[in-house]
């Protein structure tokens, strides 16, 4: 083991370097810049082992990754916020084309007005694009998840987005167990997928088709994505053997007798984890995989512990409806026996979640009972 004091951004870049990619195409945006700068430094030292290209926009970054992946190369890019929004058309296209690409998105609020705080609305607004999404709560998780995302993406031929909060994770430093390159490369292996663009082989790749064909293609990727929790589990049991750590699609920490759990994704999950000892009879349900939505895993964890109340921390808001994780959870729980009540705490704009706020949330919930939605700013 070699612990290093690194940021979440560095952890993402180191993971990419350790895995070994053929192409990194990137365009800078706060708070993602440290990822591409770290990768550029690897390139400058001749340690990247692949091609690094600074392109003229985020749209170009993903378009370039698409071309490379279609030619059979392992490609990576990273972005945030407006950059992700600008990529939107390519995000759809890549999953439709079934190219494996790993992309990191560092959460940041989308304007107007300009705001750098880590609202999750950027990645969540790409919910229906056919990409897998995994949310990380710390730098170690970022490093491990980026490595695992390549395996998952290349196995299922679906692109995968690894997501974490701007600044809270991207710019804070923690002791991270950084594996050496050989161990990682032995674990990951070369890209196993076949090139779509094969010189000498005529093919009309992703040309105009009919709705009748398209529905089958959409079903194909829906079915492929449904395999993700199972594949992720298998990847993690192998990962555990090599690296001594593993993760689930959800990671529940539910003490015996806890009837209330707090569901959180990203950095807020780590805050809740720290606050747990201060809050009696309360558990944590860390949501890591958001697409596919781990419905079965969530329902069985809640059922197993007889959870009566789920308080959802949403660092996002779908205007006119509310927090997105809460909506997804309510939808997943619908029809379940002894369906737990869901309360939604909205931290839109990426506002901070303190342990004091958490204590108040749990205290008020116990006193007030059912309240559907609360705004984080009212809980300070």
């Amino acid at each position: 083991m070699a612990f290093e004091l690194i940021s979440g951004s560095q952890a993402a870049a180191i993971a990419v370097q350790r895995v070994g990619v053929d192409l990194v195409s990137a365009y800078p945006i706060t708070p993602q810049t440290a990822i591409v700068e770290t990768l550029a430094n690897f390139d400058a030292r001749g340690e990247l082992g692949g091609d690094f290209v600074s392109v003229e926009s985020e749209y170009a970054a993903l378009a370039c990754a698409y071309g490379a992946a279609a030619a059979g190369a392992r490609a990576f890019t990273a972005t945030a916020s407006h950059g992700l929004a600008y990529m939107h058309e390519m995000i759809h296209w890549c999953s439709g084309a079934r190219v494996p690409i790993v992309m990191v998105n560092v959460n940041r609020t989308i304007g107007a007005p300009w705001c750098l705080d880590p609202d999750q609305g950027d990645s969540l607004s790409q919910r229906d694009t056919g990409w897998m999404q995994i949310y990380c709560s710390g730098a170690q998780e970022v490093l491990d998840t980026v490595m695992q995302a390549f395996l998952l993406s290349e196995e299922l031929l679906l692109p995968c987005m690894v997501v974490f909060d701007g600044f809270y994770i991207s710019h804070t430093y923690e002791a991270v167990d950084v594996p050496d390159q050989k161990t990682v490369r032995d674990f990951i292996g070369p890209p196993p997928f076949e090139a779509q663009v094969k010189p000498g082989a005529p093919a009309n790749l992703h040309g105009l088709t009919t709705g009748d064909n398209q529905i089958e293609l959409i079903r194909g990727r829906h079915e492929a994505m449904k395999l993700a929790p199972q594949s992720f589990k298998a990847i993690n049991s192998r990962f555990q053997e090599t690296f001594g750590r593993s993760y689930g699609a959800i990671d529940p920490v539910i003490p015996d007798g806890a009837k209330t759990v707090i569901l959180a994704a990203g950095a807020t999950a780590e805050t809740v984890r720290w606050a747990l000892p201060k809050m009696q009879d309360t558990g944590l349900l860390q949501l890591r995989m958001f697409r596919p939505f781990p419905r079965e895993e969530l329902c069985s964890a809640l059922e197993e512990h007889g959870v009566e109340k789920v308080i959802v921390i949403d660092r996002n808001c779908s205007t006119g409806m509310g927090g997105i994780f809460a909506q997804e959870l309510r939808s997943a729980l619908y029809g379940m026996d002894n369906q737990p009540d869901v309360q939604d705490i909205i931290l839109a704009g990426g506002i901070d979640l303190t342990i004091e706020m958490l204590e108040r949330i749990v205290r008020e919930e116990k006193a007030e009972g059912h309240v559907e939605q609360k705004w984080g700013v009212d809980l300070r």
Partner: protein
């Protein structure tokens, strides 16, 4: 000039494609693929050719075609080139094919980025001077005075056609050239020359469009020839953005522009004063081009 124009062995375009009769773009790509094939990978952005090539799994071309979203062609070309290199496939010629919309308008940013990085592939624009695949809407490649679906009579396209060749020259790319379907030997020579050059190469092909321009399908070659003879679309090449050279200019005086315009329905109701204005513009551009060529000697 000796040419293998009737050599069917090297044909890459299958019969039975979806182009309209007399389509300049179909001819252009036929010449292009024949000149550059067989080891060719094509990146194709939204344009008439998205339709011409047919519905997968069918295909009209004897090479891989990777379709991509409208604004992305320049960047996808970069990725395919770099991806093939990563796989050791350095010898495959990568060509990005885009219409005038995917080049002059929505594709310009990606094109500029790739050109500035001097990406090692060839970008070919077949220019039919409007969004023909969607029904002849104005693009920035539409000439002054033309009527389109978004500039119907009494409206007309205002402003000049964007000078894409000057834009590409300003990027100092190793090779840029114009070509058109009436001069296949000239086109083939340029494509083969471009293939041997490393770095970013740009070919601008004027492709008459019978339904869009309002012409008979049998007029395509004639119009293409007239475009050159009038100086509306001169055939030249630019090396490294600075060395300009005319490659194929018919002998004698340039034809009056009116002869080229009068055969096309899109210019049918164009007033004389506007024809004169366009003639002046063409004359001016011609003089500028000659000066550049002279200065390159």
């Amino acid at each position: 000039m000796k040419t293998d124009i009737m050599n069917h062995e090297s044909e890459m375009l299958y019969a039975g494609h979806n182009a309209c009769p007399g389509c300049g773009a179909a001819l252009a790509v036929r010449y292009l693929t024949r000149a550059l094939g067989p080891d060719l990978a094509l990146v194709l952005t939204a344009s008439c050719w998205s339709i011409i090539t047919g519905m997968p799994p069918l295909t009209a071309l004897k090479c891989p075609i990777l379709h991509c979203p409208f604004p992305s062609a320049g960047s996808v070309g970069s990725g395919v080139r770099r991806g093939l290199n990563a796989k050791g496939q350095y010898d495959t010629t990568v060509v990005v094919l885009a219409g005038d919309g995917g080049t002059f308008d929505i594709g310009l940013q990606a094109l500029s980025g790739a050109a500035q990085r001097n990406e090692d592939y060839m970008f070919v624009c077949y220019d039919n001077e409007a969004y023909m695949n969607t029904g002849m809407q104005t693009s920035s490649a539409t000439p002054f005075g033309a009527r389109t679906a978004t500039a119907p009579y009494p409206l007309f396209k205002e402003g000049q056609k964007k000078d894409i060749m000057q834009i590409m020259a300003a990027h100092s790319i190793p090779y840029a050239a114009t070509a058109t379907v009436a001069f296949p030997e000239d086109m083939e020579r340029k494509l083969k020359k471009a293939r041997e050059i490393r770095g970013f190469r740009f070919i601008h092909i004027l492709s008459p469009c019978p339904p869009g321009w309002g012409t008979e399908s049998s007029d395509t070659i004639h119009l293409s020839r007239q475009a050159v003879a009038t100086g509306f679309f001169p055939l030249y090449e630019i090396i490294n953005g600075v060395s300009w050279k005319m490659t194929c200019q018919p002998e004698g005086k340039r034809l009056p522009l009116k002869e080229y315009l009068s055969g096309q329905r899109r210019f049918k109701q164009m007033e004389d004063v506007r024809i004169e204005a366009l003639q002046e513009e063409v004359d001016h551009d011609w003089e500028v081009l000659l000066k550049r060529i002279e200065a390159s000697k």
